[in-house]
């Protein structure tokens, strides 16, 4: 067990950056750039990440939890076009086949990509002394995403960029039950 009861921001940041880039490079051959932490809402007191995010284009949001000595949830936001492209890529489809992918296939692929990302992320936590296990993925869709954390959980958000597409990892994490 680690001596400290709070997971550092650096541990969260380094693990999620590595996990996202590793999964997208290995499974999709995409080189993602890490754009750093999302900025807290302007004027918020104390500074906090926005609870509701409203996107201009529909989003596909994969989410997977982890439970154990560290608990939490990771939401992976992809715009719908990028989600379809990633699905086509991971399934090895050509452009024409990719255009005809159905929603279920996209949900499954984004769920699995999120599962791999969160797996990589939480395996890093395990190695840092916070053993935990994954939960089953689920996928949300929509333009408005409202994320509210319990008081004990700390929230972090990080942005990644791939060509013209953005990907965001929104993380809620706390130590212990």
């Amino acid at each position: 067990m680690p001596a400290i009861d709070e997971i550092s921001e650096a541990l969260v940041r380094d693990n999620i950056a590595r996990a996202v880039r590793d999964v997208f490079k290995t499974m999709l051959n995409h080189d993602l750039t890490f754009d750093g932490a999302d900025q807290p809402a302007a004027g918020a007191e104390p500074p906090a990440l926005p609870r509701t995010r409203t996107f201009s284009v529909p989003q596909v949001v994969g989410n997977v939890g982890f439970i154990g000595d560290a608990n939490g949830l990771v939401y992976l936001h992809l715009d719908e076009t990028f989600a379809v492209l990633c699905t086509g890529r991971i399934l090895g489809l050509n452009e024409e086949e990719t255009r005809t992918i159905d929603e279920d296939a996209v949900n499954d692929a984004i769920g699995e990509l999120t599962n791999m990302v969160v797996g990589g992320f939480k395996n890093g936590l395990c190695e840092a002394g916070y053993p935990c296990k994954l939960t089953i993925p689920s996928v949300l869709r929509g333009r408005d995403v409202h994320i509210e954390s319990t008081s004990a959980a700390k929230r972090h958000a990080y942005r990644f960029n791939c060509d013209s597409h953005q990907l965001m990892a929104d993380i809620l994490v706390k130590v212990g039950d």
Partner: protein, 386 residues
Amino acid sequence: MPHKILTVDDSKTVRIIVRKAFKGYDCEISEATNGVEGLAAAKAHPNLILLDVTMPVMDGIEMLTKLKADPQTKGIPVIMLTAEGGRDNVLKIAKIGVRDYIVKPFKDEALLQKVGRVLELKQLAPPVSKVRTVLDAATILVVDDKPAIVHQIQDGLKHMPWKIHGAQTPAAALEFCAQRPPDLVIVSLGLPEEAAFQLFRAIRASQTGKSTPVFGLTVKIETLAQQKAKEAGFAIVITKPISMPELEQKMTKAMNLDTSPRYYIREGEVLVIRLPANCTPEDISEVRMHLKAQLTEAVDAGRSKVLIDIQALQALDIRGMRLLIDAMQFCREMGMRFATVATPQLIEESKGFEEARTWVVSPTIEDARASLDQAVPAQASEVGAK
């Protein structure tokens, strides 16, 4: 006997990836979406199980525990394929009894390598697929740090249904190959630091590039580079300035494309043999090469008429004459009616050949078709010769 591999994963995406990874191998893949289905499928005694951990209904650890507790199934080798890593987790699962452990994300190569340690994987012979023709689309990759060369090749081959992509660096080329394996690659041998040869080796080492034709591209005086490329295994070395007809012909041959649709057209009950514009001696050789097979196929398909269109010829030389003689001879032997159409200039030139003295050659397509449609005796059913 193909190896039977059972993949147990709640993600359809992973099951598809696994299925595709073993596509070229002598393996039979069955699927289960959770531990309960997995245990049921294990009764069929697969040679190997690929098992995920986090699944609904029954997770992989419970399935593995039950599998190893059952004397009927405990001997089936299991490789974990899961995002659930971490040293403690891996050790705990390993103690239950697994052959290997693959942490997602994973590459096909890693999966094949680890499965290959348990099963003796045999590659299948390439499937007998429909013969590709010059009218089919193909993906070509040109790797050159000079965009002008890429544009020149794109422009010179724009009449072909091939999509020609450029990559300026070996890294960009390998990324392209990973995403969309090309049908043929042309690499500049002048890339810095012998990168062309490293790229060639990387293509050959990849799962999809083992038999992709790779052409080298260099200037004529770089004889050392040409020699080295041939020794390395490049299929062909093309020299600059590039002769586009020669490049097209070599690419067609390297991709093993059927060229006959370029010259043989089926129009109802008539098989049209048409020489292309700017007809080259190579074109005539190709037409002759396909002649017998095409006429046989036409007869088998119920066609009985042949229209030989040589209007595109610039001049009637000995090659053209040989083609006409062969075509007429085969038509006679197969009992097919035929008519020939040529420009007035070619008709005039044909008179200079002894063999053509008795020929009747129509000056227009319409005349030739009309003559084909005329009633004729069953045996001497030809319009091209008296």
